[in-house]
């Protein structure tokens, strides 16, 4: 045994980080009306680090409205939304840019091809172009077709590719399996599982049950 190490030379022991980098999305008492029609009347929930939430409710119960509020596309009339990522709380403008959003009304430029659309958004999000090729392969989409000529299933795959371009920590998915065939459903389910495994969070509005074998989703029912 040699001489004891000089205090200044001591390397502190490696311990597990006490505050791991967290991804957290919390919302409380969200209220949103459209003119005289109340849609959200005090909705509360939270997801963090690998959790998924399934939002259920009849048509018109506010599922899409809730997701739009969380994405920053709609401002709630009242209530709070907090989005924490990597130790930072994101302002509304930053939230918008940070989330991955899939929804039935998400549309792309019909005159441009799939690849051109994704390339445009990749430049906007400062994402390297090889990511596009990677994603297109994953969702099994041909790059050369004009977005206006896509079938509804292929359009849905494009939505997924677009949403994942910037590797978001928070996924907001409104009917994400719509129009997808069985292979498509499987792929996207795997994508969600991988995302959750990675520590990301997901809020999913789906008419049917969400089968995530490794990550049982929390539930938020908007009925009534």
């Amino acid at each position: 045994m040699g001489p004891p190490p000089h205090p200044a030379c001591t390397i502190p022991p490696v311990t597990a980080p006490t505050t791991p980098l967290r991804t957290q999305l919390r919302f409380s008492d969200l209220v949103r009306s459209f003119g005289r029609l109340p849609v959200l009347q005090g909705v509360t929930g939270a997801v963090q680090d690998g959790e998924a939430m399934l939002v259920t409710g009849r048509n018109g119960s506010g599922k899409s409205t809730l997701l739009k509020c969380l994405a920053g596309l709609l401002a709630p009339d009242a209530g709070k939304i907090e989005h924490h990522e990597a130790g930072q709380t994101l302002e509304p403008w930053a939230r918008r840019l940070a989330v991955g959003y899939v929804a039935p009304d998400l549309a792309f430029y019909e005159e441009l091809t799939v690849w051109e659309n994704l390339h445009f958004f990749a430049r906007m999000r400062r994402v390297p172009t090889d990511r596009i090729a990677e994603l297109l392969e994953r969702v099994d989409l041909t790059p050369k077709r004009a977005a206006g000529a896509l079938s509804s299933g292929m359009l849905q795959r494009l939505r997924w590719a677009w949403a994942l371009l910037h590797s978001p920590r928070v996924l907001l998915l409104d009917e994400p399996f719509q129009n997808l065939d069985e292979p498509g459903r499987r792929t996207t389910r795997d994508l969600i599982e991988e995302h959750l495994e990675d520590g990301g969070v997901a809020v999913v509005a789906n008419p049917r049950e969400l089968e995530l074998p490794h990550h049982e989703p929390k539930r938020l029912d908007l009925a009534g």
Partner: protein, 227 residues
């Protein structure tokens, strides 16, 4: 250039290129603005006839030129934002774009379209109206400064009305009060250029308007674009 500035510029350029790419595939704006302006020009020219043109004189003809440009802009410019909202591509843009970069990209595109229109229209106008210009360089500067002003005011108003119903007619209603000072100043400068008159403060005033509208638009656009 700092890193964030070059990223911002890259975004604005991306928007600019995307607008042109879409436009060249549909030719909507070029067709609409071009045909509109050209048709109006022909109508005016035919109605006035050779004598009418001479009787009108440079002052009235200067007014006519800018009215033509205004009409064309009203017909074709709003589409930039209105189309995005109508086809729901605005959702993706809201979630991916920095508002100021988006606005500048759209503004640059609209300004390019206006300049292109002016390039095609002005020589035709000068020929059909038998107008000779004393200070051609001043006319070019006026067209550039005035055209930019039309694009700047028009782009912001387009962003506003895109989220309203009856977007088409609403654009003219909202844009005219905003663009009127610009038009008056541009007409005055055009007259000065054509007749070779003096007018020292005219161009600085016009540039001041352009600057004001640009700065105010950049301040207002994020609040207009985002909820």
């Amino acid at each position: 250039m700092s890193q964030s500035a070059s990223i911002w510029l890259a975004e604005a350029v991306a928007v600019y290129l995307k607008e042109w790419r879409c436009e060249l595939r549909t030719r909507y704006a070029l067709n609409t603005l071009g045909l509109f302006a050209f048709t109006t020009l022909v109508v005016v020219s035919m109605s006035l006839g050779a004598e009418g043109v001479l009787a009108a004189g440079p002052s009235v003809l200067s007014v006519l030129l800018w009215i033509l440009l205004l009409f064309a802009v009203t017909a074709g410019l709003p589409r930039g934002f209105v189309h995005e909202e109508e086809t729901h591509t605005a959702t993706a843009l809201r979630l991916a774009a920095t508002p100021s970069a988006l606005f500048c990209g759209k503004l640059a595109y609209n300004a390019s379209v206006v300049f292109l229109l002016q390039l095609l229209l002005t020589p035709l106008f000068l020929i059909m109206m038998q107008l000779s210009v004393e200070k051609p360089l001043l006319l070019i500067w006026t067209l550039l400064a005035g055209g930019y002003g039309l694009a700047a005011g028009g782009t912001l108003v387009a962003a506003i009305i895109a989220q309203a119903r009856t977007a088409g007619t609403l654009f003219a209603v909202l844009a005219l009060p905003v663009l009127l000072p610009l038009l008056v100043m541009a007409i005055e400068l055009t007259e000065i250029a054509v007749l070779g008159k003096a007018g020292d403060m005219a161009m600085p005033r016009l540039l001041l308007y352009d600057g004001t509208v640009t700065v105010v638009s950049l301040m207002l656009f994020p609040a207009i674009w985002n909820p």
